[in-house]
């Protein structure tokens, strides 16, 4: 069994198991937690609408803070959108998802994805630079932040290296790329990357609570 066989075989299988177990564990664990009883009189019963609105609303920047957050938000938007386009727009990735789930959709031209990958990588580096140089952000950052950055950036970097055949033979680079994705799968449920799922629940519960109390979100 060579490295690519290992990456496409046992490593993929076990990393997916860990991903699925971890996500279910954390999600069910959070959803079943005891909730504090709210004895106040509800101002509104449209809590579901409030939850959905808050999930949507908080995806967009607030004008009040624009001047102070423009750098971080721009970089954040670029790498989040870039990651989404690379993951869900590259045909080999779509084929991987189709093989797992049966779902598929039209892909982007490969050359366009490569360009997006480069921009995404640049944005991720800028995000790290900001984290390491911003005095407050640096104090707030811990191992989870940096390790999550590494496991997010490695698949982008190794994917681009594989495309460009830089540093090793293609099959070796492809194996390393797949292994880096598997590292992300393993880390995803247990670190801050889980925000990709939990953000909807945390914002939703906040929005529902605010709506019940008649507060603006």
């Amino acid at each position: 069994m060579d490295l690519l066989d290992f990456a496409r075989g046992p490593a993929l299988q076990w990393s997916l198991y860990i991903l699925v177990i971890g996500v279910a564990w954390r999600l069910i664990g959070v959803l079943l937690l005891r909730r504090k009883a709210d004895h106040s009189e509800p101002r509104s019963t449209a809590t579901a609408r409030g939850a959905l609105f808050t999930i949507w609303r908080r995806m967009w920047p607030r004008k009040e803070f624009q001047a102070r957050t423009v750098y971080g938000q721009t970089v954040g938007y670029v790498f989040h959108i870039g990651l989404a386009l690379v993951v869900f727009g590259f045909v080999p990735h779509i084929l991987f998802i189709k093989d797992l789930t049966g779902l598929s959709w039209p892909g982007l031209p490969s050359n366009v994805v490569y360009l997006i990958g480069v921009v995404t990588l640049a944005a991720l580096i800028l995000a790290l630079v900001r984290r390491m140089t911003h005095p407050v952000l640096r104090l707030l950052s811990n191992f989870d932040d940096y390790f999550s950055w590494i496991v997010t950036t490695l698949p982008v970097l190794t994917g681009l290296l594989a495309v460009a055949h830089l540093g090793a033979r293609y099959e070796t680079l492809l194996a390393i790329h797949i292994l880096s994705v598997e590292l992300l799968f393993v880390w995803f449920p247990f670190g801050k990357l889980m925000h990709a799922i939990l953000f909807a629940f945390s914002r939703g519960s906040t929005g529902a609570l605010f709506a019940r109390r008649g507060a603006s979100t």
Partner: protein
């Protein structure tokens, strides 16, 4: 034909013109990625070269490698192989049989000790003392070890000889191994492929006769000149991959338009061979040009790398039942964690 005759003399006797010979040398030098100025040098060296004695051993194989070489369109460069060498022993091609055949091999080994080339096609079964394939009562393993002792170099022709090939595929009932698994003290060139491209064999022989050495090899012992680039990187359909245009089935519009076969399982990106440049059947086409994805036949263990028709980016991730079990296990752990948290909260509330 006297073995002491030079190749030039022999070609002249066979009526092969100087012009044809120069064309052969120019083409071979080009294929081997040698500098353009090397063609005359190669011609001079080959003309003076003595035809090397070649012992060709066929073990666990389908004769496809020999068929590939002998049934190619004639006259071709690869046809020149029989002019370049003195083929003293070849199970399939020789007229002699039985005792006489083995005597020819033993005679060549004795007369050209340390000088002959050993060409092997087919893997070697080693399970149960190698009883699964014998020739004249001699196991393939013993015959290989014996024949390799006096060889100047060994050319493992085809994926079976180079890497074990299909006989080695899981569960490998005969314990098939490659030549390089048994022979460690001789230079070995792996000309892999199922079958290999005939002109690659000619190129290796021409290089050996011209320079007295084997060509530069990759990490799998294959000539870099032919195995240096992947099928995908040299494929004429590559622009369609870059444009995101893929055939979804073998008879859809994409297939008719000649779009990339990646989605249909083409293994071109991880396969190294010269099919896309040298092509087959006198340069007519190669599998992808005929509408089928590359199987990756020149790579080790190609038969055990999953379906030929699943895209390279898919993996062996298990089953839906396995994933469902993982979801159930994760949910159970999560529920247990939440339950413990609730009990702790209740205990704290009671204390207050």
């Amino acid at each position: 034909m006297a073995k002491s005759a030079t190749l030039g003399e022999m070609l002249a006797q066979r009526g092969i013109s100087r012009r044809s010979f120069m064309k052969f040398c120019a083409a071979t030098a080009s294929l081997m990625a040698l500098p353009p100025g090397m063609a005359p040098g190669m011609a001079a060296a080959l003309a003076q070269a003595k035809r090397p004695s070649v012992i060709w051993l066929s073990f666990q194989e389908c004769t496809g490698c020999t068929e590939s070489l002998t049934r190619s369109h004639s006259p071709t460069l690869e046809g020149m192989i029989f002019d370049l060498i003195s083929l003293d022993y070849h199970h399939t091609l020789q007229a002699a049989a039985g005792f006489q055949a083995e005597e020819a091999r033993e005679h060549a080994m004795k007369e050209f000790d340390g000088q002959y080339l050993l060409v092997v096609d087919g893997s070697i079964p080693v399970a149960d003392d190698g009883i699964y394939s014998t020739i004249a009562g001699i196991s393939n393993k013993d015959m290989l070890i014996e024949s390799a002792q006096g060889a100047a170099a060994i050319i493992a022709v085809g994926t079976c000889a180079a890497f074990g090939g299909i006989p080695k595929a899981n569960p490998n009932p005969t314990g098939a191994v490659a030549v390089s698994d048994l022979i460690k003290d001789k230079p070995i060139v792996n000309v892999s492929g199922c079958p290999p491209i005939p002109v690659v064999i000619t190129g290796v022989l021409a290089h050996f006769l011209t320079f007295g050495s084997l060509p530069a090899l990759d990490h799998l012992g294959r000539p870099k000149a032919f195995f240096g680039e992947s099928i995908h990187d040299r494929c004429y359909r590559r622009p369609f991959y870059d444009q995101g245009k893929f055939a979804k089935t073998f008879d859809d519009e994409g297939a008719r338009n000649g779009w990339c076969l990646y989605e249909l399982g083409c293994k071109g990106p991880t396969t190294y061979n010269a099919c896309a440049t040298v092509k087959w059947n006198a340069g007519t086409s190669f599998p992808i040009e005929s509408g089928h994805g590359c199987l990756g036949c020149s790579e080790p263990d190609f038969w055990d790398k999953g379906s030929f028709y699943r895209p390279l980016s898919t993996g062996e991730w298990g089953t839906g039942a396995g994933i469902a079990a993982a979801v159930a296990a994760g949910a159970a752990i999560g529920a247990g964690a939440a339950l413990m948290s609730r009990r702790r909260q209740e205990a704290i509330a009671k204390e207050k």
